[in-house]
Each structure stands twice: as C-alpha cells, then as structure tokens.
C-alpha cells in the first residue's frame, strides 16, 4: 500500500511540476512531459501492465490542464507505456543508456501519437510546420530528465537497479 501511495504521490508531483514549473521552462517552444517520463520509468521497471496504467494516469492528469480533447494524452501515454513495457522485457542486456534510450523512443512515440490521434479527432492545429521540431526537442528534453527521474521513480517504487526490474518483470 505504501508503495502505491508513494507512486500516486510521485505522479501527482510530476503532473504539478509539468503544469506549474516546466510549462515555463520551454526550449524553443517545446517543454518536457514529466508525467510521461515517470510513466516510462514505471514501464521500464515493471513491464507493460504497469506501464499502461501509469501512462493512463499520467495522461489523465495532464489532460485536466490542456485544451486538446480530454483523454487524448491518456490514450497516447497508455499505448506508449505499454509498448515501452514490452520492449524493456525484450532487452537482452541492460546498459547505462537503456533507460534514456527507451525514454527517447517513448517520448517520440507519445508525442507522435498525441499529434496523429488529435488530428484524426479533429484538432487541426496540432500538425504544422513546427510539429516535428517540437516533438524532437521535447523528446531530447525528456531524455535528459530521464537521467534524474528514472532513479527517483525506482526509489519511490521500491525496486532497485536492473535486477529489481527483471525480478518484477518475471512476476507479471
């Protein structure tokens, strides 16, 4: 129970940081998705089910503060959390760059899904001449933050290092 409380707290703080702090720290118009990176960290440690649930929670939290259709981030982050959870289970070797690399892939995937599904849902403003640049910068921003957030989430999750990751993966 304490673990779940800690995870919920981490997610709430992540959403708050994203909404109140990092929305002001944009680089060339692109900001990071803190909540998404937290969800990716959980997917990386606990696999696809946790990844999908954490992605949904992160997206739901962020959606509260956006003008885009409600549920769009939730959809994009759920799928991303799931995919990253699946990919991490297939990693033969875990190196120091596995986590940031998966974070990069996850961020790219989540933002692209957000834009594509949003455009399909009728939000025509999402796809424009700046979209690719914004998605790339956001992904790099997320990757940089992954170096800090992944260990932090690991601590909150109560699972340590790659062994913890593999042990929990087998459990699922």
């Amino acid at each position: 129970v304490i673990r779940y409380v800690r995870l919920v707290l981490v997610m709430v703080i992540g959403v708050l940081l994203q909404v109140a702090v990092f929305s002001r720290l944009h680089i060339d118009g692109a900001g990071p998705d803190i909540a998404l990176v937290i969800a990716l960290a959980l997917a990386y440690r606990d696999g696809p089910t946790t990844g999908a649930i954490a992605g949904f929670a992160a997206g739901f939290g962020v959606d509260l503060f956006l003008r885009t259709p409600f549920g769009l981030s939730a959809l994009a982050f759920t799928l991303t959390g799931y995919v990253i959870g699946l990919v991490q289970g297939s990693l033969v070797r875990v190196t120091w760059w596995s986590a940031p690399f998966l974070s990069l892939i996850g961020s790219l995937l989540a933002n692209l899904l957000f834009v594509v599904v949003g455009t399909l849902a009728g939000d025509s403003g999402l796809w424009n001449s700046q979209t690719v640049a914004v998605v790339l910068i956001a992904a790099m921003y997320d990757t940089a933050l992954a170096f800090v957030l992944f260990p932090l989430v690991g601590w909150a999750n109560g699972s340590g290092g790659s062994m913890g990751r593999q042990r929990q993966w087998r459990r699922l």
């Binding site: 060339d28 003008r67 885009t68 939730a74 799928l79 849902a121 700046q130």
Partner: protein
C-alpha cells in the same frame, strides 16, 4: 524479439484505451461537457495558487530559458536596444514634465480603444502546459466577471479572446493560435486624413494629439515608443474587410477573404472590424501587414500580418468585460 503479451496485459491495455477513446468521444461531441468541464475547472483552480507562486519565484529562470535557442536574435536585438536606449535617454529629460500629466490621463483613460466598455486588469500566470497551442492563463476568472469570448487587450492592441473560464482563472487563446480567427478591417494610410494623424515618439511614454470632432482610435506600441493615432477615416473607397487567422507553428497571422480587387500595401494597419458575428468590438488594433505574396495564376494573395502585441513577454493584460449580446447596435 518483443515478448508476447499475456491475455491479462492485453485486457488491461484494451480497457484503458477504450476508456480514453470514450473520454475523447464524449469531449468532442460536447456530451461530456457538463461532466468534464467542472473537473478540468476544479483542477485548474486548485493549481492556480501554486502556479502564481511559481511564476513569481521563477521569473528570472523562465526569462533565461526563453533566451535558449534565440541567442543570435537576442544579440542583434541587444545591440539595437542599446542604441535605442541611448536615444531614449536623451529624450527622457524633456519628457519628464509630460510624464506626470500623462500618468493622470492614463489612469482616466486606461486603454484608448476600449472606450466605454468595462475592463478588468489581469496578471498573466502561465501558459498552457502543452507544446501545441498558443494560450495564456490569467489570474482572473468568472468570480471577477470574466466570461468566455471576452476580448483581451493591452495598450498595443488585441491579445486574443477568453476561451474558457474557471472561478479564478481564464484561458486566453492568443491571436497566433491555430484556433484563433478574428474579423478585421484594413486601415489604408491614404484613407487617414493627414491633419488628424500625429505620430509622436517619446521616451517610454506616448502623447498624441488629434484635432477633430470625430471619434478617435489610438494604438500605442510601447516597445517602439511610438503612437499612431488614426481617426475614423473619411472613406473615399469602401472599407476593406477580411479575416485574420492564426497560423499553426507561426507567430504571424494570415488574412483571408480580402476582396481580390483590393490594393493592399505593406505596413497597413489592421484593426478589428466588429463584424465577425460580434466576436470583438471594432477598431482594436491587431497588427500590421508585413508581406503580400501574389502567386501567378492565383485569384487571391497571401497576406501576412504581424501582431502588434509581443505575446512572449506579457505580464499584465486587460480583459474587456464585453460579450456579443451586449454589443451596442
């Protein structure tokens, strides 16, 4: 090789995706408006105090971050500003006497083009936390009388319109957002009687004179410290109307529905027409035409308009408590 997901994993994924799609569908169809809007409003209201506090505390850091990726532009801007500063300092002494009088007048008049419409001052507390829209969040809300569709202005001109309101915050869609479109009228320089147009440049303050009995519209641009006073033109030619749209991924606007036979020139002022189904009152300065592209064989030209307002550095704005139904006929 990606591991094969188990049935439980697939089931959880499907459930979450279905929930998300249901939310999106409900939100898009407006059916969920009553259910989703209060939740969103409550969340924004809850975060507003934190937002405001963070905004005040982090201002130096956020200003520094805004500069990242713009260092080249900033350097040339810096040189230009230094030159301007030297010029302005000389004029400052002469302007000092005018300042006191100007201050009193400003307090009385607030923003000239607002006229008799009631306005409310509002701090800008944040932007929307996504990468794909151009919006501001203001520290005023429905409790202060702000309503959806209220126009938002600064002395330089129109900023945008209120898109949604909570009790203590309001989200403003800026002119350059993809969702923004505003009915405009072009003010050709030739249409302005020269005797009633005065441009005065002073150090940081603006004075304008106008010797006419007709109603006047004044726009001030603090960044360049210049004033353009235009008078409701004695039109020889019929007024030119159009619609200024925000362009996704760009800070300029494009004009559409401008009559193809109209002669448009770069530098013309664009003001609100007050005719776009009454979405905003008329004669609020919007921007200046910066380029006109005529493609051979095309019926219309692409006209780009640069907004008069610098959206990146807004700290305070005024919300015009004006809604279409209250439009004076």
């Amino acid at each position: 090789v990606i591991a094969r997901p188990s049935n439980r994993q697939r089931y959880v994924l499907a459930l979450l995706l279905l929930t998300s799609i249901t939310f999106i569908t409900l939100d898009q169809r407006g059916a969920g408006h009553s259910a989703i809007s209060p939740v969103r409003n409550a969340a924004r209201d809850a975060v507003a105090p934190v937002d405001r506090w963070v905004g005040d505390e982090l201002r130096p850091v956020t200003e520094w971050f805004r500069g990242i990726g713009r260092s080249g532009t900033l350097q040339s801007e810096n040189t230009k500003l230094r030159q301007e500063l030297a010029d302005e300092r000389g004029k400052l002494a002469a302007a000092q006497a005018v300042l006191d009088q100007n201050k009193i007048l400003n307090e009385l008049l607030h923003i000239p083009f607002v006229g008799s419409i009631k306005t409310i001052g509002a701090p800008v507390i944040n932007t929307t936390p996504d990468n794909f829209s151009s919006t501001l969040i203001l520290g005023v809300g429905s409790a202060d009388g702000v309503q959806k569709d209220n126009p938002v202005v600064v002395p330089a001109g129109l900023v945008g319109r209120v898109d949604s309101v909570t009790a203590h915050t309001a989200t403003v869609v800026l002119l350059d957002d993809a969702d923004s479109s505003v009915g405009v009228r072009l003010v050709p320089a030739a249409a302005l009687p020269s005797t009633t147009t005065t441009t005065t440049t002073t150090a940081g303050t603006s004075t304008s004179s106008s010797t006419t009995s007709t109603s006047t519209t004044t726009s001030t641009t603090p960044s360049s410290s210049s004033v353009v006073t235009t008078t409701a033109p004695i039109l020889v030619t019929p007024p030119v109307y159009g619609v200024a749209d925000g362009v996704p991924g760009s800070t300029t606007l494009t004009l559409r529905q401008v009559d193809v036979k109209t002669v448009v020139t770069v530098g013309e002022l664009v003001v609100t027409s007050g005719q776009d189904l009454g979405r905003s009152p008329g004669d609020i300065p919007v921007g200046r035409i910066i380029s006109i592209k005529r493609e051979p064989g095309q019926l219309s030209s692409t006209i780009h308009v640069k907004p008069l307002v610098d959206f990146a550095h807004l700290q305070f704005v005024r919300v015009m408590l004006w809604i279409p139904s209250k439009l004076p006929s």
